[in-house]
Symmetry: C2
Subunit: 339 residues, 2 copies
């Protein structure tokens, strides 16, 4: 198989015309005869020409690629957000390059550096749990590359954000458990540097207060909310014989970990303990009717964040006012009448 080195010059030479005409034809410029355009396209096809986007982008000093940085693509919330991002991006003629930080600041730094070096048009980012500030966004700033935070953000309020009303979500989740009769509700909490976890925690406290239930430090278990954390949280709860009857987990993964442990111990979840998780992980619809979830509109969020970003991209010269868009979440209760 012959390696392709066909450039616009080759096809220009073969046709006895100039390469700039070829370039125009390939870009479907109106300033080329339909006739020569056809001739050029045919020749290009014939020679197996493939445009070199590197060169094109370098010359134009733009790219039609936006970068997306998420902690983990396998998390349902993020993959559905990515779906929304891709849809909105393709609609506007942009490509998407997806990167995962795996919750590691170091990787996040490398990714942003690489995106900046590749001159992406903009960046959508949901920061890792290790990220405590915006220092590593400076590369993008210096390069004039706009960025938008979605879902996860540092608690410093500035920049462009697309978020979910986590306070309300935390409040609703807790209220739901209280309505079901729970009086001793445990909270699995995440790093407080991330606004989402702080806000969910605040919502939890607010609901307790409103219902005149006491807040107890011992009922709050902090972790990075991995499945293993939930598993160990549940274990520790049982061992310390804490008298709990409900769990509000700040994400779905830890909730699932806890359920695994409880199931293993033969504790029937619906009757003894009510659990609310914070995500739209579809596993929750099957695993057990006990897991009520706070649904996060990932797909919609992705689209909105992308639109906001592209607005920045297109008005790169005129600095737009930063803004924060807050989306609503909604509680989805499982039908626990089914066994």
């Amino acid at each position: 198989m012959e390696i392709n080195k066909v450039t616009i010059h080759d096809i220009a030479k073969a046709l006895g015309i100039d390469s700039s005409t070829v370039s125009r034809a390939l870009n479907d410029s109106s300033r080329v005869t339909k006739k020569t355009k056809d001739k050029i396209l045919k020749k290009a096809e014939e020679l197996g020409y493939q445009r070199n986007l590197l060169a094109s982008n370098l010359r134009k000093n733009v790219t039609n690629t936006i970068g997306v940085v998420v902690p983990r693509i396998s998390r349902h919330f993020f993959s559905s957000a990515i779906q929304g991002i891709e849809e909105a991006a393709y609609q506007s003629g942009y490509n998407v390059i997806i990167c995962q930080s795996l919750e590691q600041l170091e990787r996040e730094k490398n990714i942003l550096e690489s995106l900046a070096a590749n001159r992406v048009a903009g960046v959508l980012i949901s920061i890792s749990m290790e990220t405590m500030n915006y220092d590593h966004m400076n590369g993008l700033k210096q390069g004039g590359i706009p960025f938008v935070f979605f879902d996860r953000h540092c608690s410093i309020p500035e920049n462009n954000n697309v978020l979910i009303d986590d306070f309300k979500g935390g409040f609703d989740a807790t209220q739901h458990l209280i309505d079901k009769g729970c009086k001793n509700i445990v909270h699995f909490s995440g790093p407080q540097e991330l606004g989402i976890y702080k806000n969910r925690f605040d919502g939890y406290k607010a609901a307790l207060k409103k219902n005149n239930l006491p807040f107890k430090d011992a009922y709050v278990l902090s972790s990075r909310l991995m499945e293993q954390d939930g598993f160990e949280n549940a274990k520790s709860l049982l061992e310390n014989v804490l008298d709990f009857d409900g769990i509000f987990s700040a994400n779905d993964v830890a909730a699932i970990g806890a359920m695994k442990y409880l199931l293993n111990e033969g504790i029937k979840i619906p009757d003894d303990v009510a659990i609310v998780g914070f995500s739209n992980e579809p596993i929750s619809t099957v695993i057990n009717p006990a897991l009520t979830t706070i649904n996060q509109p990932g797909f919609e969020m992705g689209k909105i964040a992308t639109d906001l970003l592209l607005k920045q991209v297109k008005n790169k010269t005129t600095l737009l006012k930063t803004q924060t868009i807050i989306l609503d979440s909604n509680l989805i209760e499982r039908d626990s009448s089914k066994k």
Copy 2:
């Protein structure tokens, strides 16, 4: 915030030296004094220089990026494969760009075109369910961009493949059900154009034959194996009062769909119907002890496929013999003594 346009020329000018020296210094060439190198690096830092990879790659006519194309990043098998790919790639100094075809041939075509235009160093691909031939790989071939199929491949045997022994997997799954006492085993099958589904089906038939059980057409339900398909398969089974006592699903998603339906109908899965799904979706460890799975080593597969690809990339000039690597899968039985 000032937009960065700092090039090597700027930093050269600021230091009264030539840009080529700067270039060499930034690439850590041995042909530059340590002293001037330090001076240059310091100045680069000071001016906020950011290398332009577009220009660099254009000049060198290479990139350190490999493209990965999968049907869906949210599928556990693929996201764990991607994990393996990233690990192997980073280790060799390559970046990874992840794309999803969403099982659509049209999107797959666009993605490959875009990857070729961006001159990626190589491509790892798991084809969509709509893909019936290799025609759209020609762009890569012409561009001299090597590619490796992993997991999913067309049934045409050529090119580089990293696969799982699906025949054995299908056989093991069926044998497992037979060992548990099943006599009427239904098979949820996928598009036969994809080798994986054909091989799993063949394994199913072989196991039946070996155990002197009759093969019945009516027990084979073909679909694209989405969750909804599994759901409807189960529904159709119950409505047609087929006398079945086991299900072997060619993937996990359809198995989960079927379980949802059965659960909804109040059919206790462990006792009445045994199910084997084909994947390593972790949901299966929780959803119900009845779901035994054929575990696919996604992470390992990703690493191996990447190593194979990079070997091709590095020996681009000398055409290597195509090869197929086949990995083993293993059956993971759930502990059904637990309720």
